[in-house]
Symmetry: C2
DNA sequence: CGCGCTTTTGAGATAACTCAATACAGGTGG
DNA sequence: CCACCTGTATTGAGTTATCTCAAAAGCGCG
């Protein structure tokens, strides 16, 4: 089986070994984006790729009927904005204020000028394919509990901070976003959190602050019937 | 909304405008693979990419518990085998005998020698990301009927042949494969086919031969509640 | 203090699942 | 040539995880 951090396949974005975005002294475009800002919209001409240094992005797509589907969350280390053809095929907005490194799409597509960055972006695109495949497997075959537990595990691994023996992290996205991402309803997401709370697997400070009390139980839950 | 052939987002592989794999007179590696043959296995070192000229491939992944999940089907025009890092992350076998053009991975990754092919493969990778996102949306939000109808529509559009006013195509994959691909059970797939037959939307010659009797009804079914 | 928004809880409905039986088709050997 | 056997597909009956609709609780803010 391929790349995993734990026993669990990465569910929505492969763990990139976090390395400084650029080791060279070259001028590098890095910007701060506030919560609520949009990096790009579906249909926009894709001139840039974006690497998340800190903060969280949300990639969504709008359906025919106007409903919004969350395709992915962009966590630190992720590179987002790979276009289909010349245009973006999702919306991308900021859930919690983010520092973003901006790359020109040209560097990705041609890359004569900067082969190192070119390679880096290419690898990110391949990782993205793999990550989406993992997500497909999750959506197709996992129960609500397995989905939520997997989701929390990934967030914990990628954005968690230790507090004593426990890990804590924040959920910058709403229950609705989580539901949209995992193919569930808000109510099911909420009920599943409640079950995890009652079993003392996690605790919630606020609804958007998670404390992992029992990591093993959470891992078990993410693989339940297997 | 982006690239669609009909009102329906492409569900598992974006429609590549089918063009001859190589317009140059250069030597080109093309091979015939028989049904049942494997192009590669998960974990194999990825030395090649594969373009489907004819036939159908199946990309699968094996779960911890030994169950097999169908990630995608490779139809004519698709390019498959994009690795994560240096290794393949799916199995790929042949469902119906296929002609395959083989590209060296190096050309994709570096491409100094053949920038044209490099670009071509790069675009295919981006299309793949987009296709997987479409599939995610399908898995997350569509009913069994919508999934099956979407699936049949895509096959009809991409591999169908006209017979009088109707279109016909074959299903080289089993009901189990379809179920695995769409996140359903075999029984639900079969029942849904039956509903479509009884409503005279489609007819089945054999269980693997589909005749589309009422395209509009099929399109409606693929978008049902929207 | 009250209003609006998100989250949680409750109760009932249902789409899809599971388990089980039957039908069908293709291949084999008598 | 036909009966049999094996694997796939279909149909049936009952269960259940998740959804839907509805109400209550919590929380930030003017």
């Amino acid at each position: 089986m391929y790349v995993t951090l734990s026993a669990e396949p990465m569910s929505f974005h492969a763990p990139s070994v976090i390395q400084p975005p650029c080791t060279q002294s070259k001028p590098l475009v890095q910007r701060q984006f506030k919560s609520g800002a949009y990096l790009y919209h579906e249909g926009d001409d894709a001139t840039n790729l974006y690497e998340v240094v800190s903060g969280v992005l949300r990639l969504t797509r709008v359906l025919e009927n106007g409903k919004r589907q969350v395709i992915a969350f962009g966590l630190p280390g992720d590179i987002v904005g790979f276009p289909n053809g010349t245009r973006h095929h999702t919306d991308c907005d900021v859930l919690s204020s983010a520092e973003i490194v901006i790359y020109k799409r040209r560097v990705f597509e041609a890359g004569e000028s900067d082969p190192e960055t070119h390679q880096r972006l290419l690898r990110a695109a391949l990782r993205e394919i793999s990550a989406m495949q993992d997500h497909v497997m999750m959506l197709a075959r996992k129960s609500a509990m397995e989905k939520i537990a997997s989701f929390l595990l990934v967030l914990s691994q990628r954005t968690g901070a230790p507090i004593g023996n426990y890990a804590t992290f924040s959920l910058p996205m709403s229950r609705a976003d989580i539901a949209d991402f995992l193919g569930l309803t808000i109510e099911t997401v909420s009920r599943t959190f409640t079950i995890l709370r009652k079993s003392k697997t996690i605790a919630l400070g606020t609804p958007q602050t998670v404390l992992v009390l029992d990591l093993d139980a959470l891992i078990d839950a993410s693989q339940a019937d297997t």
